[in-house]
């Protein structure tokens, strides 16, 4: 009697181990395949510029579709159980079957591997896009940014300075090396899907790829003080010719200012970013 029971238990353990092995192999295989597939296109396309903003749009879309499917799945099952399990008599109790130890483990291990494979797949995709965000193309315009309450001060490689207006040529990647002279700020350009905090004592960076002429809002995304919500500026993308003309004009003005030994002032110094309408 006793040995029979033990035998039964041993059989169950064997069964459990078999289930575990099969599910883990399957799930890991799926996860690895998924992540290597996701990492694939990045290596082949290393030569041309990977615009992070476009990558963001497609990955965002994909993740939103994924979570919508998972959400609808859960919601429909829940709604069905709610409907089918309405209490019909006052003394009624639930009649759900008791889980056997093997199925209890199965209901734990299988979801773990499904979730883990979704996680790893998402992580692999996210990592590929992350590298696009952080690897700045060598052929770029590099501008220094100092943020302060409440303005964005840009300095171009040739010493030209602007405030709250970042003027860039179309078609060339732009990199900002950022620091702050007072509190935290965050240089957020919604149209280019990018932001990064600037702070005193450290230099952070971001880059984006303007392709055609136009204007884009820059706004502060890290609480920096009383006037936080009025700290805004613009990225102005000009055609290559217009940009060259503008830069030449700025250079002439800079040279003129240097010869008269006037104190260096930002080319576009003026009112701070904005003020409240009614005060």
């Amino acid at each position: 009697m006793e040995s029979k029971e033990r035998k039964g238990k041993q059989g169950m353990h064997k069964q459990l181990v078999a289930i575990l092995r099969r599910t883990s192999v399957a799930a890991f295989g799926f996860a690895l395949a998924a992540s290597s597939w996701a990492a694939g296109p990045a290596q082949s396309a290393a030569s041309k510029i990977n615009d992070p903003a476009r990558g963001w749009d497609s990955l965002w879309h994909e993740v939103i579709v994924d979570i919508t499917i998972i959400g609808i799945l859960f919601a429909v099952v829940t709604a069905w159980f709610m409907f089918s399990s309405r209490r019909t008599a006052d003394n009624q109790v639930g009649a759900s079957p008791k889980l056997s130890p093997a199925s209890a483990v199965g209901w734990t291990v299988l979801p773990i591997f499904i979730f883990l494979s979704i996680d790893l797949y998402t992580a692999a995709n996210g990592w590929v896009l992350w590298n696009h965000y952080r690897d700045v193309p060598a052929d770029r315009l590099e501008v220094k940014l100092e943020s302060g309450m409440y303005s964005w001060d840009y300095t171009y490689p040739n010493g030209v300075r602007t405030q709250n207006e970042l003027i860039v040529p179309a078609g060339k990647p732009v990199m900002l090396r950022m620091t702050s002279r007072d509190t935290l700020h965050s240089h957020y350009i919604p149209d280019f899907r990018v932001k990064e905090d600037s702070m005193p004592g450290r230099v952070t960076y971001l880059w984006f790829h303007p392709t055609k002429p136009g204007e884009h809002l820059v706004t502060c995304a890290e609480y920096c003080g009383v006037m936080h919500s009025y700290m805004a500026g613009r990225v102005i993308v000009k055609s290559t010719d217009e940009y060259a003309a503008w830069m030449k004009q700025e250079e002439t003005m800079l040279a003129a200012a240097a010869t008269t030994e006037a104190p260096a002032v930002p080319a576009k110094a003026g009112a701070p970013a904005a003020k409240p309408k009614k005060t």
Binding site: G55, W56, L59, W60, V63, I67, I70, G71, F74, A75, V77, F81, M82, S85, R87, T88, V93, G94, A95, S96, L99, A104, W107, T108, P111, I112, F115, L116, T122, N125, G126, W127, L129, W130, T183, L184, S186, Y188, P190, K195, E196, D197, S198, M199, G201, R202, T204, L217, T219, A221, E222, Y223, G225, V226, M227, H228, S229, A274, P276, K277
Partner: protein
């Protein structure tokens, strides 16, 4: 029953009810702050105040008081105090006088937080208190530091108390695998509090030392570092999310199981996989709050993986919640509606967190209304709904009376609709670029109608909450007697009279061998 008896009480149930009253008062204040902010945002430019500092103070108060004054005390103060000794068959907690001290400290903290409105320069540093702003503002940073320290200390001594209580005071026959899920969840939450609160205490002490005593922990000009504060702060404050999440999902398990008269699906998976998994992962994911803060790239990638892995324990718990409903017997009472509401709201909130676990996606949506909408779904609304579910569920036990079912349901539907209107809209305009913590959105005129919709939704939401609170007050005074076990639950707290006397049971309870808190019997 006089006031002195209540103030100097050491009875765990009265301490719990004091926690409940204090945290609901805090909830009301923080809720009014939310309505003031929504009123201000209903038009572009100044609406009800021309001074952005007023708005920033409301925002600070809303965040700090909702988390530190309402959710954590309601869950680990009221529910833990009232339910745990009753659920494990104990007469009281292990250290009743320490328990009384913790509720006194809680009231000191709440009063200190409310003094914000009576001092000349109230804190305007958000609940995060990031330097350098918090060390240079004219606002009163010390007020923030001391509020956090006192509430944190109240919570730590509560944690010691409950870990001891559950370890040593269980009635004979209640083994660890027969503990209510809520007890397990609260234990997990207190373990997290004990590990991580000291780190928060350090962080908020250091900003006040920087501001008032001339130290330079966070001033890079004098050798300090700005990012250190953010690391310290979130090293506590992300686990704090689980300090709220664990007890609230525990309450949902209790309510769902009782009103569906169905055993929790795969109990051990929830306890060891779900709760255990969250306690293990809680301390390794804080960098996802710092994805755009200028952290090292390898840290952002490493914690992307750990953050995504949070989906495993949480997913197991969701499977169990839904599985509990399978072939059950659901009565759609008010507490059940709130608990089912949590399942749907938490589903939305949890899934919208997945993109935020990925740093490359977060670069665009971090610090926007998308984040605000996400954490309101996952923590604020789901948490508050579960607190409301729990209060309705145990209302017959702690008051001995019944609430009004009709007004309970009216309150539920108003809050459910209101919160979806507000927070879905919020996530929607967040993806389009609306940044958070904005007193004015002059640069985003395209969002004005969305803001007005959210303001309308907030009014509906607030009305629903007010109806629920009134329902409790009237029910506690005039409701019909409820009986000892109105829901037909085998869980131990329903075996004593309502309301339970001091000492809980006339004779100490013991349980049969086949007893389980979720073993529902026909009858």
């Amino acid at each position: 029953m006089n006031l002195k008896e209540w103030i100097f009480t050491t009875d765990h149930k009265r301490v719990g009810i004091l926690y409940l009253i204090g945290s609901l008062a805090a909830f009301a204040v923080a809720g009014i702050m939310a309505l003031l902010m929504r009123a201000e945002l209903s038009t572009i430019g100044p609406t009800i105040t021309a001074n952005p500092t007023n708005y920033n103070v409301w925002l600070y108060t809303h965040g700090a008081v909702m988390i530190l004054g309402f959710q954590i005390p309601a869950l680990t103060g009221f529910f833990a105090n009232f339910c745990i000794p009753l659920m494990i068959g104990a007469k009281d907690v292990a250290f009743p006088r320490v328990n009384a001290l913790s509720v006194w400290l809680f009231y000191v903290g709440v009063i200190l937080a409310l003094l914000t409105f009576f001092i000349p320069d109230p804190p305007d540093i958000m609940w995060t208190g990031y330097p350098p702003y918090s060390t240079i503002t004219t606002g009163n940073t010390a007020m923030y530091s001391f509020t956090v320290l006192i509430l944190g200390f109240a919570s730590i001594i509560g944690g010691v108390n409950f870990l001891t209580t559950v370890a040593y005071m269980r009635a004979p026959g209640i083994t660890l695998n027969k503990l209510n899920i809520f007890v397990w969840c609260t234990l997990g939450a207190f373990v997290l509090q004990l590990i991580f609160v000291p780190v928060l205490g350090t962080a908020v002490s250091l900003i006040s030392m920087d501001k008032y005593l001339g130290t330079n922990f966070f001033d890079p000009a004098k050798g300090g570092d700005v990012l250190t504060y953010q690391n310290l702060f979130w090293f506590y404050s992300h686990p704090a999310v689980y300090v709220i999440f664990l007890p609230f999902i525990g309450v949902v398990f209790e309510v769902l199981s009782s009103h569906a008269r169905s055993a929790v699906f795969n109990y051990k998976m929830v306890v060891y996989g779900g709760i255990g998994g969250i306690v293990l992962l809680a301390g390794e994911v804080w960098v996802h709050h710092l994805y755009v803060s200028g952290m090292a790239d390898w840290l952002r990638i490493g914690q992307m993986v750990t953050t995504l892995m949070i989906s495993i324990p949480v997913g197991l718990m969701m499977i169990s919640l839904v599985g509990t409903l399978y072939k059950s017997s659901i009565a759609f009472t008010t507490p059940m509606l709130y608990a089912l509401g949590v399942v749907f709201l938490f589903l939305i909130g949890g899934l919208t967190g997945i993109p935020l676990a990925v740093p490359s996606l977060t670069l665009a949506v971090s610090d926007t209304y998308y984040v605000v909408g996400h954490f309101h779904y996952v923590m604020a609304v789901a948490g508050t709904f579960s607190i409301f579910a729990g209060i309705y569920h145990w209302f017959p036990k702690f008051s001995g009376r019944m609430y009004n079912e009709f007004w309970g349901k009216v309150g539920f539907w108003l809050t459910f609709i209101g919160s979806n209107v507000v927070f879905w809209t919020m996530m929607d305009i967040g993806v389009d670029g609306m940044p958070r913590r904005y007193y004015d959105y002059a640069h985003f005129p395209q969002f004005e109608s969305a803001h007005q919709l959210m303001t309308a939704g907030a009014v509906v939401l607030g009305l629903g909450f007010a109806i629920a609170v009134l329902n409790w007050i009237i029910g506690a005074m005039k409701g019909p007697p409820a009986g000892d076990n109105p829901w037909g639950s085998p869980s131990l707290e329903w075996t004593t009279v309502s309301p339970p006397p001091h000492g809980n049971w006339p004779t100490p309870p013991s349980v049969a061998e086949d007893w389980h808190p979720y073993a529902y019997k026909k009858g």
